[in-house]
């Protein structure tokens, strides 16, 4: 009979197994990112060589693609626009979804169940149809061709999901806490503000980061409502100025994506724990 393994050996073996299991996932998730990273620094002739190892450089790496990005396109403006839009949308989403989530979770409204279901239904209406009447709304508000148009339109797809998310978070806050607060003399609003919100801060932060991310994904609305070069957000500006006719500026395209996506990924990871908590509560126990 083999001698019993030591605890340390067991740990190492466990770790190795886990890493082995994780490797395919990390490769799948990260390989395209690595590829984008390398392409962003490659010189253009380097891209069109099939006989050479494509995952590293053959001509020396260059910052030229980034130069094109920042000096020959409006990338700087696009980043500012994207961040501004996302910040405003996150704010609007917070102001509407947090109260709505609380109302649906805690105030025992009649028909709350159906309203909750209605939240899903809004996602069934495809954007390719919505953008036409919304175009009218945007024009009537005088916001056409400014990035404010997107600030008005994006909440239509962030509010439903964030409401549902906040509903979940609020359901994990036990009723007794609020009742205790009210016994102590708080009104309903005060109870909400002073007791429930601080506890739900993780959920709120999660909603913020989610609204932020969703705002950065859109392409159609940005295209339909914002034409001027310096008003566009990144997802619209990049295909516009870096794909001309049938010529693709691959290096700059990749660089543009990474500069915008990676910081958000870092932020996202930071709030992941909270996100998990919120989804849990969404079903309510």
């Amino acid at each position: 009979m083999a001698p019993p393994r030591t605890r340390g050996q067991k740990e190492v073996r466990r770790h190795l197994l886990i890493y082995a299991g994780l490797t395919p996932f990390i490769v799948i998730a990260v390989f395209p990112i690595y590829w984008m990273l390398v392409t962003a620094f490659k010189q253009e002739p380097d891209l069109y060589r099939m006989d050479l190892f494509p995952l590293w450089f053959h001509l020396p790496p260059t910052l030229k693609n980034f130069q094109i990005l920042f000096y020959q396109t409006n990338y700087g403006a696009w980043i500012v626009n994207t961040m501004s839009i996302s910040a405003w949308v996150a704010a609007i989403t917070l102001l509407t979804a947090v109260p709505a989530g609380y109302a649906l979770a805690r105030t025992r409204l009649p028909g709350a169940e159906n309203i909750g279901i209605g939240i899903f239904v809004t996602y069934l209406v495809p954007a390719i149809i919505l953008f036409l009447p919304l175009s009218r709304v945007v024009a009537d508000l005088g916001l056409q061709d400014t990035w404010w148009a997107l600030v008005v339109v994006y909440p239509t797809f962030t509010i439903p999901f964030c409401t549902w998310l906040m509903m979940g978070f609020f359901k994990t806050v036990p009723m007794e806490i609020e009742e205790a607060a009210r016994v102590d003399g708080c009104g309903q609003l005060a109870a909400l503000l002073r007791v429930v919100l601080p506890i739900s801060l993780p959920g709120i932060l999660t909603s913020v980061i989610f609204a932020f991310t969703l705002s950065m994904q859109d392409f159609l609305y940005g295209l339909a409502f914002v034409a001027p070069g310096d008003q566009k957000p990144v997802p619209v500006g990049v295909p516009t100025e870096l794909i001309r006719g049938d010529v693709y500026y691959w290096g700059s395209l990749m660089g543009a994506a990474l500069l915008v996506g990676l910081p958000v990924a870092v932020l996202y990871n930071f709030f992941l724990d909270r996100f998990i908590q919120g989804i849990t509560g969404g079903i309510g126990k």
Binding site: E44, P45, L47, Y48, R49, M50, Q72, A77, V80, N81, F131, L132, P133, S135, R136, V138, A139, D140, G142, L143, Q144, D145, T146, W147, W148, L220, L223, A224, F225, A227, P228, G229, D230, Q231, P239, T240, E241, I243, R244, G245, D246, V247, Y248
Partner: protein, 444 residues
């Protein structure tokens, strides 16, 4: 970022009706033609703004020049001009959005997908400047009319078109002792000979704009047709269509690889730039890209005439580019003025596009043409205007034809055949689709 916004809010604040009244009075004053002749913007135009939407030209320098050009005109005439760019494939979506909004740009551009006839009820009737411009520059080429004409009135200005000539590797041809690809048969022989040597050819068998253009060039050069000159009768069910399909299948089997099924508009550019392609049938954007990324290949790449079909016919289907003015524009006068100004400087535009933009005006064909007239390799392009055609040939570019184009019916037909479907089945399907689409538009 706040400055453009304040301009827009000012615009929105001014009553639309009020403005139309003023501009209407100006036009009714009857001095418009005189003003256009004198090239002086009328007093009403000063202090107004003009917004133009067009594509991102594949040559960034052209966009830079155009934006500056527009601004200079604006400064001279006291008009605040702004040029916006979006990808040309998204112009239809943007047009739909502006139509739905009842607001947007003053001048809008269409490339490839020409929706002028579709939207004509919402576009300004610019017959006056169309005639004006034509008169000044020796008349419009015959193919220009059908793009923008509805019931004798004109609703757009064709600005330029983009040719898709033959781009072939002279070094590879010479090495193999092949004649230049002056006919489709020669091109096919070349592909057949060079494919085993690692140099196949490729034409998109997929749903993209170039496929719509390339396969029509082949079909029409073989004597085929899409619709008759009235535009009412579908002519795709023909002997010539079947011959063209047979040829395409043979060309694919002998001279291409299966990757052409995945190609988009840019794939043949890359094929040439990578040094693999023996020849491609593509716009000179490919030629220019190769110049930048693969100089040795570029040195050996030559531009060839549209190959002739079996009957000796040559037809080159080109991508049209048209500018229109929205009816809801608050500055129709300035818009018209500007379009005239652009067409007056057509030759300059050709230079700035490095020979990419081909003119619609006869006067601009006087040799030597800018850029292409002086570059020895590009001189052949000067002979193309005689054989250029657009979607719907020999009929006009009508709305049902536009839908046929947008649904990629013809490329799909060729693709089916290349994939091995019997030619009769493919033709039957194709005719069925055409009939269905034409019928729908007649119903509407």
């Amino acid at each position: 970022m706040s400055e453009p916004r304040s301009v827009l809010i000012d615009d929105a604040a001014v009553s639309r009706r009020g403005f139309l009244r003023v501009t209407g009075a100006g036009v009714a004053g009857g001095s418009l033609l005189a003003m256009l002749d004198a090239r002086q913007a009328p007093a009403q135009v000063r202090g107004t703004s003009l917004r133009i939407l067009q594509w991102s030209h594949f040559i960034p320098a052209y966009d830079a020049w155009f934006d500056k050009f527009a601004k200079e005109w604006g400064d001279k005439n006291g008009v605040k001009v702004r040029v916006d760019h979006i990808p040309h494939l998204e112009l239809p979506a943007r047009m739909a959005a502006e139509f739905a909004a009842g607001a947007g740009h003053d001048i809008i551009h269409n490339g490839s997908s020409i929706l002028t006839r579709l939207y004509h009820k919402n576009l300004v009737d610019i017959t006056d400047i169309y005639d004006q411009i034509g008169r000044k520059s020796g008349g419009w080429i015959p193919a220009a009319k059908s793009l923008v004409e509805v019931d004798g009135r004109y609703y757009g200005i064709p600005m330029f078109y983009i040719l898709l000539p033959m781009l072939w590797r002279k070094d590879l041809f010479d090495q193999a002792g092949l004649k230049p690809p002056d006919t489709w048969e020669l091109a096919r022989v070349a592909a057949r000979t060079l494919k085993p040597k690692g140099h196949p050819t490729g034409i998109q068998f997929s749903q993209c704009a170039d496929a719509n253009l390339n396969w029509r060039s082949l079909l029409f050069s073989f004597g085929g047709a899409e619709a008759d000159p009235s535009g009412e009768n579908i002519l795709v069910d023909s002997k010539e269509m079947r011959e063209a399909l047979r040829f395409a299948k043979a060309l694919f089997d002998e001279g291409m690889t299966a990757e052409v099924f995945s190609w988009d508009d840019a794939s043949d550019n890359r094929y040439l730039a990578s040094g693999v392609a023996s020849w491609i049938h593509d716009a000179i954007s490919a030629y220019r890209t190769t110049e930048d990324t693969n100089p040795p290949v570029f040195k050996n790449t030559f531009i060839g005439m549209e190959p002739a079909g079996p009957g000796g016919k040559r037809v080159s289907v080109a991508a049209a580019n048209v500018y229109m003015i929205w009816k809801f524009s608050k500055n129709q006068q300035a818009a018209k003025e500007f379009l005239v100004h652009v067409m007056d400087n057509d030759r300059e535009g050709m230079v700035q596009s490095r020979g990419y933009n081909m003119p619609y005006l006869n006067a601009n064909y006087a040799k030597p043409m800018p850029v292409i007239g002086t570059d020895p390799k590009m001189q052949i392009l000067q002979d193309f205007p005689k054989i250029v055609a657009f979607y719907g040939y020999p009929g006009p570019f009508t709305t049902p034809i536009q839908e046929v184009v947008n649904l990629f019916v013809l490329p799909d037909t060729f693709t089916k055949v290349a994939r091995g479907e019997p030619i009769e089945d493919a033709v039957k399907w194709c005719v069925g689709e055409y009939r269905r689409i034409f019928a729908r538009h007649k119903r509407a």
